[in-house]
């Protein structure tokens, strides 16, 4: 049983990553979008170092949130259109493994590139080097949670306008935004930030089972 679960998971991962690599826009688009948004802030606000470094946590986090929700509707839309989703629902048990795999893939092709690009963003926004690790940690936890939340939005708005799936989950991303920026801001002020990271971790830990189950429920709605 366990091995078959692992097999199913690895098949979905292998297949979707293969497809993602053959269509490079899937992982390049969020990356470029993130960097462009970050670049626009100095252009709009002026290049003063003190201003930019104090705004950096917020700018990086807003750009990361938007970039991670940019392509969120593609998580299920193609599989739904070509019938692969039916296949998975029928041959896979439990179904939330499918959702979990899809979330992982989405994170690998959006969250991970954002994580890499955030270092560049931190440099051009003059974020002190000491804050790099807290920034990466907060983005790691936060973008994972956004992928989970995004999957639910994608499932609920399957087949509707692409932007809808992002908009309906944006209000729910407020805690992630606040915690994420608090982590970086606290590290800038030499304050303890581990508490915020723990809460983000707890949200992720509860979100994985909870949101995956609700996403299954939302996906099944599309078959009725």
């Amino acid at each position: 049983m366990h091995s078959s679960l692992f097999d199913s998971l690895s098949i979905i991962l292998k297949r979707d990553l293969m497809i993602a690599f053959r269509r490079s826009s899937t992982y390049i688009t969020p990356l470029i979008f993130f960097l462009i948004v970050v670049t626009f802030f100095p252009l709009a606000l002026g290049p003063q170092e003190s201003l930019l470094s104090s705004l950096a946590p917020g700018v990086i986090w807003i750009a990361a949130l938007l970039a991670s929700l940019l392509a969120v509707e593609t998580i299920f839309s193609e599989d739904f259109r070509d019938g692969t989703l039916d296949d998975f629902f029928i041959s896979l048990e439990p179904s939330f493994i499918l959702v979990f795999a899809k979330v992982m893939i989405h994170w690998l092709i959006t969250g991970l590139p954002i994580l890499v690009a955030s270092s560049i963003a931190a440099i051009i926004l003059y974020l002190p080097l000491d804050s790099f690790i807290p920034m990466l940690l907060s983005l790691l936890l936060g973008t994972s949670f956004m992928s989970l939340l995004g999957a639910l939005g994608a499932a609920l708005a399957l087949g509707k306008s692409a932007i809808l799936s992002a908009i309906i989950v944006l209000p729910f991303s407020v805690p992630t935004l606040l915690m994420g920026t608090s982590v970086i801001t606290s590290s800038l002020n030499n304050q303890d930030f581990s508490g915020f990271l723990m809460i983000m971790g707890a949200m992720l830990a509860l979100g994985i089972p909870g949101l995956c189950l609700l996403t299954v429920e939302a996906l099944l709605l599309n078959y009725e």
Partner: protein
Amino acid sequence: MLPNLKVENLSCVRSDKAIFDEVSFDVLPGQNIEIIGSNGSGKTTLLRTLLGLITQDKGEIVWLDDAGKYHNYRTFECLYQGHQLGIKNLLTVFENLNITKHAKGMSQEDIYKHLERVGLSNVNEFASNISVGQRKRIAMAKWLLKEFKIYFIDEPFSALDDTATLLIEKLIKELNAKGCSFVITGHRPSGIEATRVEI
């Protein structure tokens, strides 16, 4: 002979309209069921209900095997092929067959053999470049990966030329001989030997 699947008085209502009403049939090993109905008569919904994608409003679906009774299809080895065939455009013909749960542990030669059996020779072509009829053939090759107990195929005969139609009929007969059953849908009775259920 005991049936593998018993469907009793199955009904489905959506927006206060019966999509199908009081459908009953038994799927016996090695025998086929053909569900006949016009467009929009709920054939696809019926298949999806059988496979648990939709919850029925009334009636029972019971799966039986030597070990006992189940209310869940997942303990059974079933294959479902919907209108959309579940074929990925960015994978080659070979990969579309190879990267599936049922092809695990299968050698490359075996997969080539299955593809040849359904008349596909362009194995390294991307699925986006091949015709609808050939896509159907990829889906058919999936039937051969394993001997599934029951095959649920939504409109297998649509958009096919004569040779492909003959091929399907032959494949179904062969698999029937091995004890596999087919539940298929269509607009009008096809050439295969089956119990017809009209909805």
